[in-house]
């Protein structure tokens, strides 16, 4: 065995840059990803500061101002109960953002450890986990989420649980596949040889090396979760009235499309831009974090 160590060229060229810094540099070069990131930040700000940004109370009805077209008083018009659509769209950001982040967190918290266990332990544990994952994946995502939300009862919390649980198998599969790839690497063998416990190897050596694809998948999953929450709310299984959510606003707007089309335009555009932003960011992250795809 040779004693000489030859550094890979990239480390010679940029000795100070870690993998995350290099990824950030690559991400910065992608205009689409930056636009996505900017839009996501704007929506986060809207969600956080809704009480100060929204011009009116999102649930205050006004019988004197029913289904008014957009005007200087109501930029986005008013709905069937005279509520300000702009304020409802701004407050609705909270439900969508919350649903996106909370449900994907649920998927990550369940999916990554389960996938790690399956990939790292192998054997019977792996077979059982893989079969159960297959069973979950056999039920189309939204139909499983609808069924779960139906049995749990309609509410935003239950919708987030339903979406999070339905999306879990994707993360189990991804984590398992990544772990199996990483587990054969020399550095894992080395970690084992120095006497690390399997748990320590899994958490300290395997997990950091599978983070990149998991982050990419999580970003794209947030986009899917935002659409899923809007879909469940559209069907009446998510955020309950009068609390505003983009999906439930569209559900009402559908009935007034010939008289008050503005009720349908704005909540839909908001879903579109938020989902587009997460998709752009996810695509950019994939290009930046996964060197094989370059």
């Amino acid at each position: 065995m040779s004693v000489a160590i030859s550094l890979p060229p990239s480390r010679v060229l940029a000795p100070e840059a870690g993998p995350w810094q290099r990824a950030w540099r690559r991400l910065r070069r992608r205009r689409g990803a930056l636009v996505g990131l900017a839009v996501v930040v704007i929506f986060i700000a809207l969600a956080l500061f809704a009480p100060w940004i929204a011009p009116a109370d999102p649930i205050a009805t006004s019988w004197g101002a029913i289904r008014q077209a957009p005007s200087t008083a109501h930029w986005f018009g008013t709905d069937e109960l005279g509520r300000d659509v702009l304020s409802r769209v701004i407050w609705g950001t909270r439900a969508s953002m919350l649903a996106g982040v909370v449900s994907v967190s649920i998927s990550l918290l369940l999916g990554v450890p389960i996938g790690l266990a399956a990939g790292f332990l192998g054997g019977v544990v792996d077979s059982v986990i893989s079969r159960v994952t297959d069973a979950f994946l056999a039920c189309p995502f939204l139909i499983l989420a609808i069924a779960l939300a139906a049995f749990l009862g309609p509410s935003l919390t239950n919708a987030m649980i339903a979406i999070g649980v339905s999306a879990t198998p994707i993360f189990v599969r991804l984590t398992r596949a990544q772990v199996i790839n990483v587990a054969v690497e020399d550095y894992i063998e080395a970690a084992r040889a120095v006497g690390n416990s399997p748990l320590r190897i899994a958490i300290r050596h395997v997990l950091p090396n599978i983070t990149a694809p998991v982050i990419v998948q999580a970003t794209l999953a947030i986009a899917a979760a935002v659409i899923a929450e809007a879909s469940l709310s559209f069907l009446g299984l998510g955020q309950q009235p009068p609390a505003p959510s983009w999906g439930s606003m569209l559900n009402t707007a559908k009935n007034y499309v010939d008289q008050a089309p503005w009720m349908a335009i704005w909540p839909g555009l908001s879903i579109f831009f938020l989902v587009l932003a997460f998709n752009l960011l996810g695509d950019g992250l994939r290009d930046a974090l996964d060197p094989r795809q370059r």
């Binding site: 056999a138 039920c139 189309p140 939204l142 049995f151 569209l250 499309v257 839909g268 998709n279 752009l280």
Partner: protein, 313 residues
């Protein structure tokens, strides 16, 4: 071939069994006593007692599962609490409508997605590629129920060309049927077209850089033959498998599309039964959907096997 077929079919049995456990387990999520919930608002004691006996609620969970799954295997998915109709009968009534919608949507998705993917791969880096990628992002980011509402606004309210709702059976009046189905089919096919475009693009890019494509070009074949005969054929195999996974999106999307356009299909059935607290129907629909999805993926695998001669031996 035969051995592969048997093995592949054998793998779906444990999956289906686990799916049935999962769906049966949903009942455990109901807060409180299922018999009381199913009995509705009045909670008439005789109704509650009847339901308790009918659903074997006094028996332990595995025994109840046994009763349920043995029924499912025989095609007995239980009865609707509302209409007393067998669940399977309800599903069979609604299924053809959704199948028509799904087939139309898939045709639209294939007609848009595959050519767009080819154009984008062949003209990599050109305006065409850019446009196709923009289309894919739009398709992936637009909630289909919103697109449905927008199309109703444009084609039904503003232009008055197409009906906003009202399903007509194709056997009654094919023209009216297609007029009612074209918008929902487009809405449903849109997102799938986007996914197909991306798969086609990446599969074509991979194939176009391969040696046999270079050989085909080198021997002087025109570009059209190279792309359509040599490249596309080989790119089709991953497109089939990945495209089959989109059948789940198709089934999920049908729920929303049918709701927007008031189409009396499978998706409307599950939504209506959710609101009627008709849990047996919900379970039945999910069971049938999962079975259909598993079967369709099995068929896709077989198609993959048939178009790829290397796998046959």
């Amino acid at each position: 071939m035969f051995e592969f077929l048997v093995k592949r079919i054998a793998t779906i049995v444990p999956t289906l069994l686990l799916v049935s456990m999962l769906i049966f387990g949903l009942q455990q999520l109901l807060p409180g006593d299922p018999a009381k919930i199913l009995a509705g608002e009045e909670q008439d004691p005789t109704v509650v007692a009847f339901l308790r006996a009918k659903l074997h609620l006094d028996e332990p969970l595995p025994v109840r599962y046994g009763y349920w799954v043995s029924g499912v295997v025989r095609g007995d998915l239980g009865e609707s609490i509302r209409t007393q109709q067998p669940v399977l009968e309800l599903i069979v009534q609604k299924l053809p409508v959704t199948i028509e919608l799904a087939l139309l949507a898939m045709s639209i998705a294939l007609l848009i997605g595959i050519p767009a993917g080819i154009v984008s791969a062949v003209g990599r880096g050109t305006a065409w590629d850019y446009a196709a990628n923009m289309f894919a992002l739009w398709g992936l980011s637009t909630p289909n129920f919103w697109l449905g509402i927008l199309m109703i606004l444009l084609f039904s309210v503003e232009l008055g060309w197409l009906p906003a709702s009202g399903y007509v059976s194709p056997f009654e009046d094919l023209g009216a049927n297609l007029a009612a189905m074209i918008m929902p089919a487009f809405v449903l096919g849109n997102a799938i077209a986007a996914v197909l475009m991306r798969h086609t693009r990446s599969a074509m890019l991979q194939v176009l850089s391969s040696d046999y494509v270079r050989t085909a070009r080198a021997k002087g074949l025109n570009e059209r033959t190279v792309v359509l005969k040599h490249a596309l054929r080989n790119a089709l195999t991953p497109i089939i498998t990945l495209g089959a996974l989109e059948l789940g999106t198709l089934l999920s999307g049908a729920v929303l599309t049918e709701q927007v356009f008031t189409i009396p299909g499978f998706g409307k059935l599950i939504v209506d039964s959710v609101f009627n607290r008709d849990y047996a129907v919900v379970q039945g629909v999910v069971m049938v959907t999962a079975t259909a999805y598993i079967t369709l993926n099995l068929l896709a695998d077989l198609a993959y096997f048939l178009v790829n001669p290397r796998l046959r031996n």
